[in-house]
Structure formats: C-alpha cells, structure tokens
Symmetry: C2
DNA sequence: CGGCCGGTTGAGTACAATCAATTCTGGTGG
DNA sequence: CCACCAGAATTGATTGTACTCAACCGGCCG
C-alpha cells in the first residue's frame, strides 16, 4: 500500500507556498486544485532516489523538473577545488531542477531517501502555456524560492558562526511550522557537514557553534537530528543581533 | 521630450532575460512582444527617483512592482543593528518589488538616478491571469533572478575577500556583456561600501582587495567606476580557485 | 571485536574586522 | 585657474574569529 499517489493522500504533483499577494498569516497552502494536480499527474512519473544519490548534475541537459513527494534534497554547486556549496534544501512539495539554456544550473542530491514526481519539460511547457491559473501558481512558488534564496544570502552575510547557525535553525523551524501544526522540536534531516556547506562554514565550526549554544542553555539536542530551543529570547537575540555585546569568554554559567 | 514611453525608444515595460529552456548562447533577449509592452504600458506610470532615494521599505504594503527603465537600484535588508545587506543590484529591464502576504520582503533604494515603470499590483494581476504568454515570460524572469540569487549566495560563501571581489566583477561583467555588444571596461555604478554590503565584507576589506588585484596587475581602475581586467588568466583562476596554493606574502611581482 | 563514519575537541595560524588616521577626488566658489 | 572642502577611498595597527590539521570519541554494523 501507499504506493499509488492517491493512496498516499495525494492526487498528483503538489505545490505548497505562501501566496505573495494574499495574506495568510504565514501559513503555506496547496496552490494547485485537485483538477490541476490530476492534469499534471498525467504527464508525470514517479521516481525514487537513495540517500546521497545524485538527482541530476550541473550542465546536464535539462529534460525534466522534479516535484518532491517525500524526503529532502539539496541543490548544490561544486567549486573547481572540489568543495561543494549547498544553495538550497528542498522539502516535500518543492520544485527542483532550475535550468538555463536547456542545461541544469546546479547539481542536486538526495539528503534522505527521496520520492518525487518527474515532469518532462516539453510536456510541462505545453501544459503551462494552456493553463493561465497553473502558471500563476508556478509564479507564486518561484517568488517563494526567491525570497528563500535572499534569506539564505542574508544568513551567509553574517560574520559570526553562531549567528549563522541560529538563523539556519530559525529557517528550518519556520519551514516546518508553515507545514505542520505544531513544532516544538526542529528536525535536522541533514548532517553537520551539509549544514556547513549551506552556511558557508566548516564542519568543525558548525559543531563548535552547536556546542556553544548548548553550553549557554539556548538549545538542547537529542538525536543529533532533533533540536529544541530552550531559551527563545537569547535565541532570537543572537539571530537578530550579530554583534552581541559582552560576547566574550566570560561565560558566567560554566 | 523623452517623456512618453514611445519617445524614449521603448514602447512600455520591458523584461530582459535568458530563456531557461531555449539555447541562446548566453545572450539575453527581450521577452515581451511589442503588443504585450503596450498592454502593460496602459496600466503603468513612470516614476523617477534621485540617487540614494528609498523606493519602498520592507514591510510596506506592496501595492505595485517596478520595472526599471534606466539607472541602477539595490534591494536590501536591514539588520536590527542597523547595518544593511544588499541582496541584489537591479539593472534596466529588471523587475523590482518582491512581496509576501501583501508586504514587501525587502527595502529598495536607487544607487543612481532612476527611472522606472510603476505597475499597480491589482491591475497587473488581472492582466496576468488573462495572458498566458505574458505569465510565461514572468516565469522566465523569475528563474533568472533565482539563478542570480543563488550565484550571489555562492559568492557570499567564499571565504577570501579577493575571491568575493573577483566573483563580483565577473558577475557585473557578464550582466553587462549580456546586454551590450562589447565590454572591455566594467562599469561600477555603486560605491565601495555598496559593494561591501553586497559581498558581505567591510568597506576597508573591499578596498584592500581591489588594491591587491591592482598590485598583482590583474585589474586596472580608472574613475573608481571603470575597471579593466588586464590578466584574464589570473582573474579566472582566483574566482575559481578560492584557496590558491602559495597564496602567501611572496608576491614575486611587487 | 574492529573498523568506519559522523561528530567533537585542541593548538596554532591566517585572514578580515575594527578603529582610527590619512590621502585622494571631484566639485564649488573665489 | 586655483584654493578649498566634503565625501570617498586608502592605509596602518591591533584584535578576534573561524580555518586548518590532526587527534580523539562514540555509536553502529559487519
């Protein structure tokens, strides 16, 4: 069971985003109507990827985009020296497969086991040009991704490692809060080095930042993948206030 | 004269971008047909801003988007400590005014004197939903902005100041090359501190990076605003190779 | 039990931030 | 045409933070 889309509670591709124009109190919503999802399902196939599998590579001919059903993916770029920079984490109902001149502009890999719809571009394009409402929904999603990318840039512009990590956690928390009812625990599907590649710091620096947050009683970690924020005030203060006054080694609580 | 759109050689709003699907050899093209531009001109008004003027502020009710006719703008976010982070520079034919839930998600200011079309959102929205071709063009433009934002993120993830500055120059050069025929000199409409806010470094660090590039004979600057690349090999090598082996103070050419 | 992988920790170094002069540039008015 | 001014850019000295490299831990799986 739970193999066919409908059995999984989904009738086809899905796009969740915040409408850039309507006000919806920070809640994401399903942008596609059931009918649209069915129409898209006709041209889609379902594909699966194992953890760490590459979904597509930068420069490959872009013949399809993907719509995540379950799991987490990362879009990344490889620097000539071999290091990777993650440009985005993609969650269920996100779109994946940005292209330019018919070629993918970044690579993409599965962070967890992944299921996705695969939408061939030619079919999608002709579908789009016939359906103005569907196009508008795609526009909404792209606006959302753009905001996300700008927010990522803001995170990267932070100088202090601890600020970056806190902003990263905020990001994840809000994403998860916008989808689920209640999140008192943040889920980290990616490992420390993935976080490092996203935040532009080394694995070691990520680890140290986490440890410092724990030492100050601001967060608590369980499974290495489940984090709770225990001091919201301090947490928000660090995110907002990159240069914390009195940040020195005088941790009066140690 | 030169007041009405047609007299300025433009028939209305314009969107330049690279089609994500067709292959066009890195050249940007006008996405809108003359007819579309006229239809948009009907709902648009022309606005002017002086250098350093704020176009809109984060959190303002988003009632319009802007389409730059001439000049350069910057989208930015202000950190609680007062410092600003520039998320994008916007050139002629770019769109400006990203919103979420009816509010602008960032502020925006004119870097140079600026002329732009102002497109009220309600009118634009109803126009969009009636015109599938136009929507597709907006989608193209958004993809382009998304790529640009990801590239910016990649730049920000670089550790060495010199790499950031070189990547920044590459960015500008390619933008200008995609529009004009030939660019042997890069134009920097923004000042050093703007560059610092975009690249996530201080004004002083930007200056030092420029000086080092000049000292190594890699670039030459004239007006503070006109830069020539004099050693393309070294230039590209720095952009690509963040951690240059033998990077020390032994600059054999000094 | 041993190896492996992800994560943590330590010592030393390199780089950019900071803060504070100082110089350069372009524009203005005498 | 030149002297002067204000803003932009450069430079210097010092400090802080994250990187590097490398050792070490702890759980998990064969």
């Amino acid at each position: 069971m739970a193999k066919s889309p409908s059995a999984m509670g989904g009738q086809g591709p899905a796009i969740w985003a915040i409408d850039p124009w309507a006000s919806s109190a920070g809640r994401m919503q399903q942008l596609l109507t059931d009918e649209e999802r069915v129409r898209l399902a006709v041209i889609a196939s379902i594909v699966r990827f194992k953890k760490r599998a590459v979904i597509y590579r930068e420069g490959d001919r872009a013949d399809a985009i993907f719509n995540i059903i379950s799991g987490v993916a990362a879009a990344y770029k490889k620097a000539p020296d071999g290091s990777e920079h993650i440009t985005a984490f993609l969650l269920p109902d996100d779109l994946l497969g940005l292209s330019e001149e018919g070629k993918y502009t970044n690579s993409s890999k599965a962070i967890t086991p992944l299921t996705a719809y695969r939408l061939p571009l030619p079919a999608l394009r002709s579908r789009l040009s016939k359906d103005a409402a569907l196009e508008l929904h795609v526009i909404c999603k792209l606006c959302q991704e753009l905001r996300q990318a700008q927010r990522h840039g803001f995170l990267l512009s932070q100088r202090r490692a601890i600020s970056k990590v806190v902003m990263f956690l905020q990001l994840l928390e809000q994403l998860q809060a916008a989808r689920a009812e209640q999140v008192e625990e943040i889920d980290l599907p990616m490992d420390r080095s993935d976080i490092g590649e996203y935040t532009g710091m080394t694995l070691a620096a990520v680890s140290r930042a986490f440890r410092r947050l724990i030492a100050r009683g601001i967060i608590k970690v369980r499974n290495r993948r489940r984090v709770t924020i225990t001091d919201r005030d301090a947490f928000d203060k660090i995110a907002g206030h990159p240069i914390e006054p009195g940040h020195g080694m005088s941790n009066r609580a140690s």
